[in-house]
Structures are given as structure tokens and as C-alpha cells.
């Protein structure tokens, strides 16, 4: 139990260190790509090159990924609780957001599926 907990804590620590490296890199280079994305790419590179074995991050990352939604809740609360828009502006903005989001999702999905070929993808589904 204690051993499990230590292992998990170490995995979180490793992810946190990678995030800090990413942030540091983003700040020193002045890149428009933020630290978390650089951290993601860094971890992916380290896994592919086998510098870090997957077992070092698997459980900690699994827990984060499973509960990823949780980490958005407080920001959503902070952002959405400050409603100070005129109803008209709020309405037109909602329409724009709905239209562009839904169109974007439909277009992305359709194009991906038509290029990748539907049959091939169906095969993947049964094999994964």
C-alpha cells in the first residue's frame, strides 16, 4: 500500500518535472507554444526513444487522463460565473460559438474518415 502510494507520487513528480521543463523552455525561447504542450511532446519523445520506460509513468498518467475533466471544473466556474454581457451580445456570441464549433467538428471528422478510408478504420475497431 505504502509502496504503491510512493510509486504513484514519484510518477506524478516526474510528470510535474516534465511540465516545468516545458514551461521553462517555452519562456526562454519565447515560443507561442505553452509549457504543457512542450511537456507532452517531450514525454512522447522520451517514451518513443525508450529513455523513459512506459512503466515509469503509466499509472500516474492513467489516473490523470481518467480524471482529466476534473481539472477544468474550477476554471470553468471562475470563467462562467462572471456573466456581465448584454443579453443580445451573449446570444449572438453563443450562436457563433455553436456554429463554428459544430461545423469544425463535423468537417474534421468527415475529412479524416474519407481520407483514411472507412473500411480500413472499421478493421481497426475490431482489432483494438
Amino acid at each position: 500500500m505504502i509502496k504503491d502510494f510512493t510509486a504513484l507520487a514519484l510518477q506524478f513528480l516526474l510528470l510535474w518535472v516534465l511540465f516545468q521543463i516545458g514551461t521553462w523552455f517555452s519562456e526562454t525561447t519565447g515560443l507561442a507554444v505553452p509549457g504543457n504542450v512542450i511537456g507532452l511532446i517531450l514525454l512522447l519523445t522520451l517514451l518513443i526513444t525508450r529513455v523513459i520506460p512506459i512503466s515509469w509513468v503509466d499509472r500516474g498518467a492513467g489516473l490523470f487522463v481518467k480524471h482529466l475533466g476534473f481539472f477544468f471544473i474550477p476554471i470553468c466556474v471562475g470563467v462562467l460565473a462572471v456573466g456581465t454581457l448584454s443579453p443580445q451580445l451573449a446570444f449572438s456570441l453563443t450562436v457563433i460559438l455553436l456554429l463554428s464549433t459544430l461545423a469544425g467538428i463535423a468537417v474534421t471528422g468527415k475529412i479524416f474518415q474519407s481520407i483514411a478510408g472507412r473500411k480500413e478504420l472499421e478493421n481497426d475497431r475490431s482489432s483494438t
Binding site: L40, A61, L68, I73, G104
Partner: protein, 219 residues
């Protein structure tokens, strides 16, 4: 107080997660129901946003490492993602441009301020990317955050249903679409559908963020 509010947030999240697992109605996606419930709780008990602020800072600090963790599902499904790299790049490019251009032209049509227009074009990126871009381009930061959150929630709530209606059934394509447009909130939702959806969404989210940083300098 911070510990209490954090515990309440976690409890609300776990309850809404259980509710979603039992009911499986897209509108009840945990991020959406938890946010609504927390806003109601804060209002009912007269807790100001300033009091809740430490919880926001604390949890947002962990959002960084949690995003880094998305490298793991991408790694596990790297073969499939690589095999479809051509479909991946094209759908990402055209999909992101569609979302950005629709909001751009609609915003111009109703004469929004240029600050709001900038905030609208970066809304499909994940929060830290969008805020960074808005700042670089002189957009309104608060409204950018609002647009990003609403875009994520719309994508999570309506995206999967829309894709089903549009006949997009393959897991990789579904994850790709939601991750590209609805960033982390969409990814957190679609990962419940399956691990491949989640992996493709995570890869799409990271690449869409990078792509948007490149095109906003042009648009």
C-alpha cells in the same frame, strides 16, 4: 475554507461522474454538470469568487502535468496515429480553419470589436495556448477564456452526437474531430468512449494548438 471548497468540488465531480456513468446522456458530461452545480453552490451559500480563487489556482496548477500525461495514450496508439498521418494533417488543417473562419466572418458580420474577434479565432486551442495567443494578438483575455470554455463544453455535449448523425463512426476520426476543435474538455469527454478516441483526441489537441499559434499570426 480552501480545503473545504476543494473537497466539495471533488465530491461534486465524483457524483456527476457517477451520474454520467449511469445515465450516459451527453448533456450530463461531468465537466458541464459539475461546473453548473458548483456555480449554484457558490451562489446559494453566498461564497464570492474571490474565496473560490485559491481552489482555481490550485487545480489549474495541476492541469499542466495532467496535460503532459496525455502523451501516454498517444504513445500507446502511436502506430495507428502514424498510419493515418495524412488524414490527420488534412483534417486538422481544414477543420481548424473552418472553425476559425466561420467565427471570424460571423463576428465581422455583426461588427464585433477587434478584441473580441481575436478572442474568437483562438477559441479552439486549449486554455493555456489560447490565452497566450490572445495576449500576443491583443485579444480580450477574460472573454478568450469564456469562449474557450464554452467551445469545449459545446464540443463535449453535442460533438459525439453530431458525429454519429454525420456518419463518422471510426474511433480515430471521432477523437480527432473532438480533440481538434474542443481541446481538453472535449478530450476529457471523448476518452470515456474508448482509449483510441482519447489518444487521437490528445494528439489532435496538441497539434491543433501548435497549428493555431502558427495561423493566428497570418489571419
Amino acid at each position: 475554507m480552501t480545503v473545504l471548497l476543494l473537497s466539495i468540488t471533488i465530491a461534486v465531480y465524483l457524483a456527476s461522474r457517477r451520474l454520467y456513468k449511469n445515465v450516459r446522456v451527453a448533456v450530463l458530461t461531468p465537466v458541464f454538470t459539475s461546473t453548473a452545480a458548483m456555480i449554484v453552490i457558490l451562489l446559494v451559500f453566498g461564497i464570492s469568487l474571490d474565496t473560490y480563487e485559491p481552489v482555481i489556482d490550485l487545480v489549474t496548477a495541476v492541469l499542466g502535468p495532467a496535460t503532459v500525461a496525455l502523451a501516454v495514450p498517444v504513445y500507446k496508439h502511436r502506430k495507428i496515429i502514424l498510419r493515418y498521418s495524412r488524414a490527420f494533417l488534412w483534417s486538422l488543417t481544414i477543420g481548424s480553419l473552418t472553425a476559425a473562419l466561420i467565427s471570424l466572418s460571423a463576428a465581422n458580420l455583426i461588427y464585433l470589436s477587434s478584441q473580441l474577434i481575436t478572442s474568437l479565432t483562438v477559441k479552439s486551442a486549449t486554455v493555456p495556448i489560447a490565452l497566450e495567443l490572445a495576449e500576443l494578438q491583443g485579444g480580450d483575455l477574460t472573454m478568450t477564456a469564456v469562449f474557450v470554455m464554452i467551445t469545449g463544453l459545446i464540443g463535449a455535449v453535442f460533438g459525439p452526437g453530431l458525429l454519429t448523425i454525420a456518419g463518422v463512426n471510426s474511433p480515430a476520426a471521432r477523437g480527432m474531430a473532438v480533440g481538434t476543435i474542443a481541446h481538453g474538455i472535449g478530450t476529457a469527454h471523448i476518452i470515456n468512449e474508448g482509449e483510441l478516441q482519447g489518444a487521437s483526441a490528445a494528439a489532435a489537441m496538441a497539434c491543433a494548438g501548435i497549428f493555431l499559434s502558427l495561423i493566428t499570426t497570418v489571419l
